[in-house]
Amino acid sequence: MSHYHQIDIINLVFNFIFMITTDILIIGAGPTGLFTVFEAGLLKLKCHLIDALPQAGGQCSEIYPKKPIYDIPAYPEILAGDLTERLLEQCKQFEPGFTLGERAETIDKQDDGTFIVTTNKGTKHHAPVVAIAGGLGSFEPRKPKIHNITDFEDKGVEYIIKDPEIYRDKKVVIAGGGDSALDWSIFLSDVAAEVTLIHRRTEFRGHLDSVEKVQELKNKGKINLITPAEVVGIVGDHKVKAVVVKQAQHIEKEFELNCDHFIPLFGLSPKLGPIANWGLEIEKNAIKVNNALDYQTNISGIYAIGDVNTYPGKLKLILCGFHEATLMCQSAYQIINPGKRFVLKYTTVSGVDGFDGTRKEAPKAVVKSIE
């Protein structure tokens, strides 16, 4: 056997052991993805979710967690963050798996019709059905326009802070004027050797507490504040050594500021990204599906539900995503259990049996004689 074959086989065995397997692989842990877990659970189908964000909730948790929603049936008013919490609680009994902080990158259809989805970090997932609940797309950091910034990604430039410990005793420069720039400056002022916060204006937009705290830390000399200013360049070879700072008031004045890390925090914006190259029919930045039936895409076994799909009359609303998820699960059941009979049951009548051994059921009426 050739050397290459051996490697192939080792890879195969490795993948087999370490690959995540599930019934329905859901891409996107927004409201639509989370409710899919519940509906699938009622059909005894197990789910695993992938999301580029470090937390579940999609737009609801990333864009507007503290804002109210008024058109969720039976909730005259609910905060988007609370809706996420409730959805997580509702599907918890079906023990969904999560791959968070990773973006689904490629999909490979196997000879047996199942799919392997691999993330940007190389995590592999194997499932007979894939449900794309990707919303407006995977949330990606907005990168400042600095010509050589991509050369330093993961070499001192980070757009999302995953492990604050890597900044311990390091010199850190943070850019941005919103909540995350403020909150991380505060947090890292206790961890890093030096924290500098750079913003184009002297005004910051964030919770009053955070703004006041930064002011206090600045007065104590624990945060260096450079405003109004902008980072316009990065210096270093293979690793960040310094950033070039341009102070807005004196156009001429540019200087180098030594640092080990540069963290630009300008928010996240959704990008359909790699899914656009999966051979799916795309229209208006969304995936075309068959809405007369089951929200399947042009590739059998791949569904698209929630904000990410399009069909005549489509509305990007949470309640529409819930409906689509429900119908999709019925169709997925037929793919996973071909020919096996099933009939819709009311949760009130049949109760809900969790995969964790819990059971919810309606209390029985008492039968007792009245004398």
Partner: protein
């Protein structure tokens, strides 16, 4: 019924000019007008729903039309956005009113 539509011009991200009629009685802002005419792909405009929190609706105002003054949150968002010019505004913060007849704006590049 009295006609409350106004004529405005929007230059899309490809540089194409669109002369359109914008209703002023439907509580629509400029970002929503752009979406209703599908002048920018869905998902690339109005990402934050119009809360001055994403700058996906940034546009450059080319006419000298009188517009509502900038509020703090719009100014704060623009200070964090990219490709910002002196005539930048957030479309979602511009409510359509009859006084805006003849407005000309160009959509800023996607970021």
């Amino acid at each position: 019924m009295e006609n409350v539509d106004i004529n405005i011009t929007i230059i899309d991200r490809e540089g194409e000019k669109h002369h359109i009629e914008a209703p002023t009685d439907m509580a629509m802002n400029l970002m929503e007008v752009v979406r209703s005419y599908e002048l920018a792909p869905e998902g690339t405009i109005g990402v934050c729903g119009g809360m001055a929190m994403c700058a996906s609706c940034q546009c450059y105002v080319l006419s000298d039309t009188k517009l509502p003054e900038m509020q703090d949150d719009e100014e704060a968002m623009l200070s964090e956005a990219f490709d910002v010019k002196d005539n930048s505004r957030l479309g979602c913060q511009i409510q359509m009113t009859p006084g805006m007849e003849g407005l000309v704006v160009e959509l800023a590049p996607e970021s």
